[in-house]
Amino acid sequence: MTTRKIFFAISLAAMVLCLIAGYGIAGQWIGVVITIITGLGWLLGLKYPLFWLPHICLPVSVCLAVAGCLAGSSPLLMIFGSGAALAVWDVLLLDASLRSSSPREQTRRYETDHLQLLALAIGSALVVVFLGQLLHFQVPFLVMIVFVALVVFGIDRVWGYLSKYRLHS
């Protein structure tokens, strides 16, 4: 079993457990059923690496997490579930892109770098979320509006940065 498969299994298990636990605690069994079906969908995506399947499963999982939040499930579990869904999605795409590559040292190095950065990004974000939930850090609505406005204006800068990465021949 390759590293990415182990990573996939752990992330999928974390996602399913978080969402099932969240919905189960709130007693919303329909959510549990949908989570299990989504988990099976992710597994199907691993077996049949179709282009569109991971891109469907990720929004479905995030929607499940959002619905859980709105329906009164534990927000921490839902956020962890959506974060784990992001990891599953990324590892699934990584697996699909590396499937045609021969197992060489350079490819293994790419895989390791990818998984390390993924774990670092999502792990640190989830730690911040956990701390934020623990400290009951409440953002006032007006501050949130200002924050969103900043993000919207920031998108322009990000877009400008991304547009530099076009075809260079």
């Binding site: 709105l70 956020i79 990818h114 950065l117 990004a121 974000a125 990465y165 075809l167």
Partner: protein, 426 residues
């Protein structure tokens, strides 16, 4: 921006909008892993100014035939001072069939490190050339990708496959006055006895016919042998859309290509002067010439020959530029013919060309796919009758006609058509 970035970006925006509309802070928190993921990608994206690569594409063969596979090796070296994450891939050309190997790879290259991509491909025929090796440089998460085209020129030519024909004793109307292998109907130096004439001053003594001289006192006679010369042969391959037929993977035009290549090889091997015209909306030609170099020219021309595209109207066969063929040459037309093609043969005969038509049978070629019901069988019969009538009309113009069913060997038919006696041909 690739699909991954788009999906993550859309989810972030959707979560923000949902958080705002529901006034739910927990949903806003949910965006944090996605934002961290996206920012990690942007943070790790390589700086274009610092990137430096060298690339090379090696081809084992620059010329090959359709049977052998061509081995290709792509190598990319990182010349920058930092490690880079790459996706190296090969641009596959139309007509290439990958036989073995790897066409793409994701790698992380340390400074000075090199990666190689090896594969082999086959193709029916054609010219394949590349100018660059495409690579995608990205962050480790593959979110911010930059496409670079690294210059690496290479080209290979897949020449058409053909069957080698044995040498046939060709008889033509006229020959070129260059020593060759065809009896030229002229007295001179040769091997076959041609006749006897009166002795001329300067004739070698060994060619004197002593018996005849003994019977005629005070007169001398010299034996003459038949000169052997080469022939002028023009090959015309019909590449008009109306004469082609494609059944599954098989193409009638490819049979024509193969037949033309076989004939060219046979005639050039015999030492004859051969020219080629591939006739369609765009014509390709090889002017008359000899030797292996001429065979290479003809094969190169045949490897690039294509049937006219469907968008263009069919051109009549009558517009063939016959002036490119030397007068009295033997012209071999390889075509499945359309119903209006008879006039060309009239023109060719009027100009004194000796003509051989190798007509590929489209009805026999398509027969396995045609219906077996009574109506279809009747239609096939009518089409065959029409074709037979057309070939008979053409043969009445003193044109040798080979009705070639492409699944049968061509050589015996060509041998029978070209080795008839001179008297029969005229």
């Amino acid at each position: 921006m690739n699909n991954k970035t788009l999906v993550v970006g859309l989810i972030i925006v959707s979560l923000f909008i949902t958080a705002l509309s529901a006034r739910n802070g927990d949903i806003a928190w949910m965006t944090l892993p996605f934002l961290a993921y996206l920012l990690a990608g942007i943070w790790q994206a390589p700086s274009l100014e610092k990137l430096s690569f060298s690339a090379e594409r090696k081809l084992e063969q620059t010329r090959s035939n359709g049977i052998a596979s061509v081995d290709v090796c792509l190598s990319v070296q990182n010349k920058a001072a930092e490690a880079v994450h790459l996706f190296v891939y090969e641009a596959i050309r139309a007509g290439m069939k990958i036989a073995d190997g790897e066409l793409s790879r994701r790698v992380t290259l340390q400074p000075g490190e090199m990666t190689e991509l090896e594969y082999s491909f086959t193709a029916t025929r054609g010219n394949f050339s590349w100018r660059s090796i495409p690579i995608l440089v990205s962050d480790p998460l593959g979110l911010i990708e930059t496409k670079l085209l690294l210059p690496a020129k290479a080209a290979t030519q897949i020449q058409p496959t053909f069957k080698k024909f044995k040498v046939i004793p060709l008889r033509t109307y006229s020959t070129l006055h260059v020593p060759g292998s065809i009896p030229a109907n002229l007295g001179g130096s040769g091997t076959d006895f041609f006749g006897v004439r009166e002795y001329h001053a300067g004739d070698p003594l060994r060619s004197l016919d002593w018996r005849l001289t003994a019977r005629h006192p005070r007169r001398f006679f010299t034996k003459e042998f038949e000169q052997e010369e080469i022939a002028d042969i023009g090959l015309i391959l019909d590449a008009r859309l109306g004469t082609d037929l494609k059944i599954g993977e098989e193409n009638l035009f490819e049979h024509g290509i193969s037949a033309t290549a076989s004939l060219a090889e046979m005639f050039l091997h015999q030492g004859h002067r051969v020219s080629l015209l591939v006739y369609g909306r765009t014509t390709l030609n090889v002017f008359p010439g000899y030797s292996k170099m001429q065979l290479h020219r003809i094969m190169s021309c045949l490897s690039t020959a294509k049937v006219d595209s469907e968008k263009r109207a069919a051109v009549p066969l009558d517009l063939i530029p016959t002036r490119m063929f030397p007068s009295k040459a033997l012209i071999i037309l390889i075509s499945s013919l359309t119903s209006e093609d008879r006039s060309l043969f009239l023109r060719l005969r009027a100009r004194g060309y000796q003509v051989l038509l190798v007509s590929l049978d489209p009805i026999d070629f398509a027969y396995p796919t045609l219906g077996q019901d009574a109506t279809s069988q009747l239609a096939i019969r009518v089409a065959r009758l029409e074709r037979r009538l057309q070939l008979k009309n053409i043969s009445q113009l003193q044109v040798r006609v080979i009705d070639w069913q492409v699944r049968q060997p061509l050589f015996p038919l060509v041998r029978n058509a070209l080795t008839r006696s001179r008297g029969q041909q005229r």
